[in-house]
């Protein structure tokens, strides 16, 4: 995890735990990541692996029961001094200055992510007026231009309409418009197309890539769909039970998968074209209870290559120019989490 | 195969609902109040020697203390006796009205919720009409036609009390009707009535019981108000409401407050208990709260 200039966000040993009645759920349990500026990082894993909590921790949008136990998130912004987001007051002035302005976020379910009683235009303009002192008319003009850029038909009319008059696909475009209106440096997309049909999903992913090419912002794309990551991401981080099992470029992870979980995940997903000739190999058992995770590697109980050492601390190993694997079997230079 | 051998126990929903209730102190307090007051009223003859209705002109308007722990009213009748005997009637009216209303509401609600069509449209309009009419006015209309009696009062409560349960059961049927387990029953060829009453209805019992407690509380208050203005239970049989009838004059409010304070507090305490218990029940039965 080298410290060079093109890193926009570096997360070190992040631990976000939840206290629910007497149990402690270690949702994010020591995550370290570097997000390259202008690129797209795919954060992939099954539900409950902590990918969404990691993203919410970046923007400090966590419920009251959450506790950030450890770690730091350095934001190397172009517009301001590097700052550790975890040191800021969650709803303090400085953090709010970043949220929606330098780092913005869009969510999974477009149907319920827009306020039903406000017009579309007003909801987009609200972000501009919050972060920049400009006139409402000027802000509305920018909102209209952004809606057009997201190819929403007859934008002049639709900007005055209400969310219930929009389809799922159209609402997600409005969300993207809202996220990009203050031209942020980082857009976090939490399962943006999971609730959409596959052809609409293709439109949205295509749109996001096109806008990234034009505006140059960085994307963290959170999904459980390996296909989307292979299609859109530049770097990939595979998460399981609150830890990153494997991190590397798209080619590293898909052509040279080195962690047993990544390999098992790729073999358990049907791929279009082989039409059922070779049988899927499901991962046996089921995800363990997050409140009493086993010591060492939490994938060990379901892993075909499990060995006794998997019970102790697991090294985070660089198996080849930045391709990191958290597994005893991996050969290479060990990397400290904190570094 | 499943990982560890889980302890195979015939666990039941009722057990985990009960365990959640026990952990809710307010619900337990509520239950205690209800049980104590009902016991006191039921065992009234043992608690006080006095007759609640026989006037005793030698002991008019005595303040609490001595022979009369709660004092006596203008006709020398012992207030404690009247509160205890009166409690029986008030609780009986409140409970029977609520139970009657619940049964009616469940039956109509289930049929309308499951079969819809014109039956549903008719009862929705009827329910709307009944809820537009302030309940007291409906009672006054019926009181002017029929004469006052405890029996008529219960009938009136049932005639107006079914609406809340009806709306709730009908709503639950509308949503449950689309659930897959109901569709599965139809695919197995089970009959409509057995689906409605043996599969869907049991899922509504939780909120129905909660509504029962709320209705009981509501009717006790309603009976007290009606009896207080002299249109509920005729003053011959004492109830918490008509005991307080004496409190209409200012002089009795000020000079001998004990006459109306005891029954008033009895109503408030009992209804408070019912509400605490009802709230605890709602949280315990709410599937969302693990």
């Amino acid at each position: 995890m080298s410290e060079n200039k093109d890193i926009l966000l570096s997360i070190r040993n992040l631990k976000t735990h939840f206290h629910v009645r007497k149990r402690v759920i270690r949702a994010v349990d020591g995550v370290s990541l570097d997000v390259r500026a202008g690129k797209t990082l795919g954060l992939v894993g099954e539900s409950g692996c902590g990918k969404s909590i990691t993203a919410h921790t970046i923007l400090r949008l966590l419920p009251k029961t959450a506790r950030i136990k450890d770690g730091e998130i350095i934001f190397h912004s172009r517009k301001r001094q590097p700052v550790d987001l975890l040191k800021l007051q969650p709803s303090g002035k400085e953090m709010r200055g970043i949220r929606g302005n330098d780092i913005s976020m869009i969510f999974q379910d477009p149907m319920s992510s827009l306020n039903p009683v406000y017009r579309i235009g007003d909801q987009i303009v609200e972000s501009i007026l919050e972060h920049e002192n400009t006139t409402r008319a000027e802000a509305m003009e920018r909102a209209l231009e952004m809606l057009k850029r997201l190819s929403i038909p007859s934008a002049e009319k639709r900007i005055r309409e209400y969310p219930h008059q929009f389809s799922g696909g159209m609402k997600q475009r409005v969300m993207i418009a809202m996220g990009l209106i203050c031209n942020p440096e980082l857009l976090i997309a939490d399962e943006p197309t999971t609730a959409l049909d596959v052809t609409i999903q293709a439109q949205i992913l295509e749109l996001m890539q096109e806008l990234q090419r034009q505006l140059g912002f960085t994307i963290i794309l959170i999904t459980h769909n390996m296909g989307i990551v292979a299609d859109v991401a530049d770097d990939v981080a595979v998460m399981y039970m609150g830890k990153i099992m494997e991190f590397g470029s798209k080619e590293d992870v898909f052509l040279r998968p080195s962690h047993p979980y990544t390999r098992a995940l790729l073999k358990s997903v049907p791929v279009l074209g082989n039409s059922g000739r070779d049988l899927l190999e499901p991962i046996r058992g089921s995800t363990p209870d997050p409140s009493d995770l086993p010591e060492g590697c939490s994938f060990a109980p379901r892993c075909d290559f499990a060995k006794p050492e998997c019970g102790q601390a697991i090294p985070y190993v660089d198996v080849g120019n930045g391709h990191l694997v958290r597994c005893v079997l991996a050969e290479g230079r060990e990397v400290r989490d904190g570094q | 195969m499943e990982a560890k051998a889980q302890k195979i126990v015939k666990s039941s929903r009722m057990r985990n609902v009960a365990s959640k209730l026990v952990s809710n102190k307010a619900a337990l307090l509520g239950l205690a109040i209800i049980v104590i007051i009902i016991l006191l009223c039921a065992l009234a003859p043992l608690m006080t020697p006095y007759n609640p209705t026989k006037p005793d002109f030698s002991a008019q308007v005595q303040p609490p203390g001595g022979a009369h722990p709660f004092g006596t009213d203008k006709l020398g009748r012992d207030i404690l006796a009247r509160v205890l005997y009166g409690g029986r009637v008030s609780i009986l009216i409140g409970l029977s009205g609520a139970v009657g209303g619940m049964l009616l509401g469940v039956i109509i609600g289930s049929l309308c919720g499951y079969f819809r069509g014109w039956l549903d449209a008719v009862f929705v309009k009827v329910a709307e009409l009944v809820s537009i009419f302030p309940q007291i006015l409906l009672v006054l209309v019926l009181v002017t036609i029929l004469q006052q009696s405890m029996y008529n009062l219960i009938m009136i409560f049932i005639a107006t009390g079914w609406v809340a349960t009806f709306r709730m059961v009908r709503g639950r049927f509308f949503s449950l009707r689309e659930e897959s387990f109901v569709e599965a029953c139809r695919v197995f060829g089970l009959g409509d009535l057995s689906i409605a009453f043996r599969h869907i209805l049991p899922n509504c019992l939780g909120p129905v019981i909660v509504q029962l407690t709320l209705n009981t509380a509501g009717f006790i208050l309603q009976e007290a108000a009606l009896s207080f203005i002299g249109l509920g239970v005729p003053s011959g049989t004492p109830t918490w409401g008509n005991i307080m009838n004496a409190a209409k004059e200012i002089v009795s409010i000020n000079q001998y407050p004990w006459v109306w304070l005891a029954p008033g507090l009895a109503i408030a305490l009992f209804v408070l208990g019912v509400n605490f218990f009802g709230d605890g029940l709602r949280d315990a039965l709410d599937p969302k709260q693990i």
């Binding site: 596959v198 052509l255 995940l265 358990s268 039409s275 059922g276 | 197995f188």
Partner: protein, 343 residues
């Protein structure tokens, strides 16, 4: 896989009235399923794929008679070999026909009655369909739970004590308790986690082999449908636009919508050069679908004829099992940008 036809749908239509206003006046009709005909052979898996609103779930529910179709026949081969329209049976026959066709639902958490034990969920259907002795029913429940890799003691538990994957396996076992020949599976794995999906899909394949079951497999995820199905029907706005063997559909697709669907599915592999076909705008409203071919408003190959004349679903060239509903199916695939996937 025998080629004996088990079920034949003939010109099935299902229109839902759209009501508005105080007096629930009907102001339009949603043509959810519009003149669909197809057959299912015994032992095969017929895939039904399409995006939301295409009518695949409605068609599935018509097969199990949860919905009564506005028009059309549901011909089923009964034990004596003869075909009967399930929609015109008398009360008794109609009840017994429920044994033949069963359904597995999408949401595992709502397909079992939360206030009843697993045993009673199995027991009632068996009892109603003539399995007299309670002991025998309990034994069959135990066997079925073991058949789906679950401990038979779980029959005494309540649904809220199981995970999504376990519940879905229980629902599959329950659907088999009265020995159906045809099971309609409506998005059986979409609500499950990726690793659990593979377990359930393989279980369904194994049960099909062991009990000679026939599946109608409904899903929006083309990769899952292709993995499970022998033949796949692609639906759009209430109609079947293409029907072919799963291998054929992938490599020799002939309908522009199938092509767009295939190109939109993200592949978890690198290096597969794939030209992206991105459709414009949203799916039109099913209340008044476009005239002629319903896809012509979004089809990049559409010509004048497409807007006037609705293309019938007809066999494509000489392939016996390949049907397509497009006037220009024979010529379109010659275009150079037609192929989207280098194998």
């Amino acid at each position: 896989m025998g080629n004996e036809i088990l079920l034949e749908l003939k010109n099935i239509r299902k229109y839902f009235p759209v009501e508005e206003g105080m007096f629930r006046r009907t102001v339009g009709t949603v043509k959810a399923v519009d003149d669909v005909s197809l057959f299912v052979r015994r032992g095969e898996t017929l895939g039904l794929v399409g995006e939301s609103g295409c009518g695949k779930t409605t068609l599935g529910k018509i097969i199990v008679r949860l919905h009564k179709p506005t028009q059309g026949q549901l011909n089923y081969r009964l034990d004596d070999g003869g075909f009967k329209d399930l929609l015109s049976l008398d009360k008794q026959e109609s009840f017994h026909a429920h044994r033949r066709i069963q359904m597995v639902f999408q949401d595992p958490y709502s397909s079992l009655n939360p206030v009843k034990t697993i045993l009673s969920a199995f027991d009632e259907p068996m009892r109603v369909h003539g399995m007299a002795s309670a002991k025998e029913r309990k034994q069959r429940t135990a066997d079925l739970l073991e058949a789906v890799n679950l401990r038979s003691e779980y029959m005494y538990r309540y649904p809220h004590e199981f995970s999504g994957g376990q519940l879905q396996r229980i629902s599959i076992a329950r659907a088999l308790c009265i020995k159906p020949d045809l099971v309609v599976c409506d998005e059986p794995v979409s609500a499950l986690d990726v690793s659990i999906q593979a377990q359930v899909l393989n279980l369904m394949k194994e049960l099909q082999r062991r009990m000679n079951l026939t599946y109608v497999f409904i899903a929006h995820d083309l990769s899952v449908v292709e993995y499970m199905s022998n033949r796949i029907a692609v639906m759009y706005l209430g109609k079947i636009v293409e029907l072919a063997g799963s291998g054929d559909l992938y490599s020799r697709y002939r309908h522009p919508y199938t092509r767009a669907l295939l190109s939109a599915v993200p592949i978890p592999e690198i290096g597969a050069k794939k030209s992206r076909v991105v459709l414009e705008g949203d799916v039109p409203s099913p209340i008044n679908p476009p005239e002629g071919c319903r896809f012509h408003t979004r089809c990049s190959f559409s010509q004048a004829r497409c807007a006037q004349e609705e293309p019938p679903l007809r066999p494509y060239a000489e392939h016996e099992d390949h049907w397509v509903a497009c006037h220009f199916a024979e010529t379109l695939h010659q275009a150079d940008d037609w192929v989207i996937q280098q194998p």
